[in-house]
């Protein structure tokens, strides 16, 4: 039983007004103790999916199973999950203690137990000294901790977080990311977080489901998502990437033969055929004045266009005779400014490993 996934989402769809598909045939499994992220642009259906886990939306089709139990007829107040809302939803007329204790009060726990568990939960989120405060006397970050404590005190099987960091300023957001990871490790509860911020998902989650237009595009750990995106959407949504259009035919043995102007024809690892994009991340690209000879490289001549300097690296745009430029992140490995200064119009050989090249279909 304990090996079974804590959440199983089976072929779940949600239609609004009979036609608009907010969620379209989603299959997902979340394991016990995972920090799972639902990532995607706004309107991709990730929040609807989360709200279906909480019970605020009813799936039009499909099955939601939490801890082996079908949730179809289970009301939100009876589910073994708790949610941290985007607005934190801290009850304004209750003190911090009353807020955190509310869920236990609904469980009709004895007063003594409530007191102890509330104190414990407030310690956990480092608000132990502010129990008597009213919400309007607290900062946004503190209110979020109240919302966290209030959900965790119920010891849910899954904690749902709806864009929990979007209302915080940049500095606080970063601190809170680490805090959430620490918290998740401490309590060992499965976290499911919804976010549109890729860096948030990459830095916190064990596994990420990327969604677009109601469909799951890829489910993978952060590094795999970044290095092995399943399609153009995922590659484009996560980080920066160069894409060069080409045609691909199967060459057997997990390889494809790809023809792309101006790179020429080559055999690469991959499965996508037909119209494809050859994709390479900017930081995987090297630049040299001499032509490289290694046959395992893809090379092309380019002219320096715009250069953006970021201190530790420079983002250089090369014109390789295509509509859009090829961008490369060149590390500034030397303190000799001359060595890494790119001047517009200079010619370079641009190259990268064949193994770093992705063949992406739609």
């Amino acid at each position: 039983m304990s090996d079974a996934p804590i959440i199983q989402i089976k072929n779940v769809s949600k239609l609004y007004g009979g036609t608009v598909k907010a969620v379209d045939g989603v299959d997902l499994e979340v394991g016990r103790g995972e920090f799972f992220a639902l990532l995607g642009p706004s309107g991709c259906g990730k929040t609807t999916l989360l709200r279906m886990l909480a019970g605020f939306e009813v799936p039009t089709a499909g099955q939601v199973i939490i801890d082996g139990q079908d949730m179809a007829t289970v009301q939100p107040n009876k589910r073994p999950v708790n949610m941290v809302f985007q607005s934190y939803a801290v009850f304004p007329h209750m003190s911090v203690e009353q807020n955190v204790g509310y869920g236990l009060k609904m469980e009709r726990r004895p007063a003594k137990e409530i007191r102890e568990r509330v104190a414990e939960a407030l310690e956990l989120v480092k608000l132990g000294h502010l129990g008597k405060r009213m919400p309007d006397e607290m900062s946004g970050g503190q209110r979020q901790r109240v919302a966290l404590a209030r959900a965790l005190v119920k010891r849910p099987k899954v904690l749902l977080l709806d864009e929990p960091l979007s209302a915080l300023d940049a500095k606080l957001r970063e601190a809170m990311q680490l805090e959430l990871v620490r918290l998740q490790k401490t309590v060992g509860i499965t976290f499911v977080i919804v976010t549109h911020d890729q860096s948030e998902a990459l830095s916190m989650a064990n596994r990420i489901a990327v969604m677009n237009q109601g469909k799951v595009q890829q489910v993978a750990p952060p590094a795999e998502l970044y290095e092995m995106p399943a399609n153009r959407f995922v590659a484009d949504f996560i980080g920066k990437i160069n894409m060069i259009e080409g045609d691909s035919t199967a060459a057997g043995d997990g390889e494809v033969r790809v023809k792309a102007h101006p790179l020429g024809e080559m055999t690469l690892k991959g499965t996508a055929t037909g119209k494809v994009a050859l994709a390479v991340r900017p930081e995987k690209i090297f630049v040299d004045e001499k032509e490289p000879t290694d046959p395992n490289l893809i090379k092309v001549k380019g002219k320096v266009g715009e250069v953006a300097y970021f201190g530790s690296y420079s983002n250089v745009f090369f014109d390789i005779g295509l509509g859009q430029p090829l961008q490369a992140d060149i590390s500034n490995v030397s303190s000799d400014i001359e060595e890494y200064t790119f001047k517009a119009g200079e010619q370079y050989w641009i190259y990268w490993r064949k193994s770093d090249t992705l063949v992406l279909g739609d």
């Binding site: 605020f56 107040n77 949610m83 006397e137």
Partner: protein
């Protein structure tokens, strides 16, 4: 050549009160607003049967008022009706507002418009309609007090509760629905969400709605006039019947009492509301 001359003494937004015409305008407005009321109150202490010349201070007319059994009965009637109307209108208004805010159902717009009808219908029409209605269904007369006030109370509730509903509905608009979802998520039933989360948010609206219902009921004349029987005279109706003979200081005194009751109730309600806000702000 200077085309523009700079104003040597530019006015700030509050300095406009220095302008004479503006001051005069404010003074005249305040005069016409308050002079009749203050005059009415002052002459209730006038030691004269006539209401024209000041003859000296007396509280005789308040004593007379106190000893005027029919007037005191009317006052008791008015207060009873007002309290009943306030309680029922506030509850009914709160539930109506909640339903309109919380749910979507077919015919909602019609329902909402129908509810607000008593506000826009001319009071005289409402009064006549009520009179005809109670006569038509044969509402029994001559019941013991206070049950005989039933018809007036029902009529008052009918026109007062939409006001309460509108005030409470407006308050609900500022409610963050995530609060009620959150309470659900923490294990509260729909009823507990309403009691623990929605009602506390509604409270200022409830107080304002109750206050509105109370004052509307207390000083209503037109509808009451049509629904009142000989045994169920209210304070405003009684004052009207007194005025028909002559405007004596007794009428002034009675009116003053009515004004004071309204003022006291309003002050108490505002005080309660303020105190609640203070508790919310200062508890550490």
């Amino acid at each position: 050549m200077r085309l523009f001359r700079r104003n040597p003494d530019p006015m700030g937004p509050l300095d406009y009160s220095r302008r004479l015409w503006l001051r005069a305008f404010v003074a005249v407005t305040l005069f016409f607003l308050y002079a009749p009321i203050i005059g009415l109150m002052a002459f209730s202490f006038n030691d004269s049967r006539r209401n024209v010349v000041w003859r000296g201070f007396t509280t005789d007319y308040y004593v007379k008022l106190w000893n005027n059994d029919s007037l005191m009965m009317a006052f008791a009637n008015s207060l009873t009706i007002a309290v009943m109307t306030t309680i029922v209108s506030t509850i009914l208004g709160a539930l109506t507002a909640y339903v309109l805010w919380r749910y979507r159902f077919p015919g909602k717009a019609v329902y909402e418009g129908g509810m607000a009808l008593p506000i826009v219908i001319p009071e005289i029409c409402m009064g006549v309609a009520m009179m005809v209605f109670f006569a038509r269904i044969g509402w029994p007369a001559g019941l013991p007090w206070p049950i005989n006030l039933g018809s007036i109370t029902i009529a008052h509730i009918a026109f007062a509760f939409p006001f309460a509903a509108i005030v409470i509905r407006a308050r609900l608009e500022s409610f963050n629905r995530e609060l009620s979802e959150c309470a659900r998520d923490l294990g509260a039933s729909e009823y507990r969400v309403f009691r623990d989360i929605v009602v506390p948010h509604m409270r200022p609206g409830l107080i304002a709605g109750a206050l509105l219902a109370f004052t509307l009921s207390l000083d209503d004349f037109v509808i009451t006039f049509f629904t009142a029987g000989p045994d169920t005279v209210t304070f405003p109706v009684k004052i009207y019947s007194m005025v028909r003979f002559s405007v004596t200081p007794e009428v002034n005194a009675a009116s003053t009492v009515l004004i004071l009751v309204t003022l006291v109730v309003t002050t108490i309600a505002l005080w309660i509301q303020n105190r609640n806000n203070m508790i919310g702000k200062s508890a550490h």
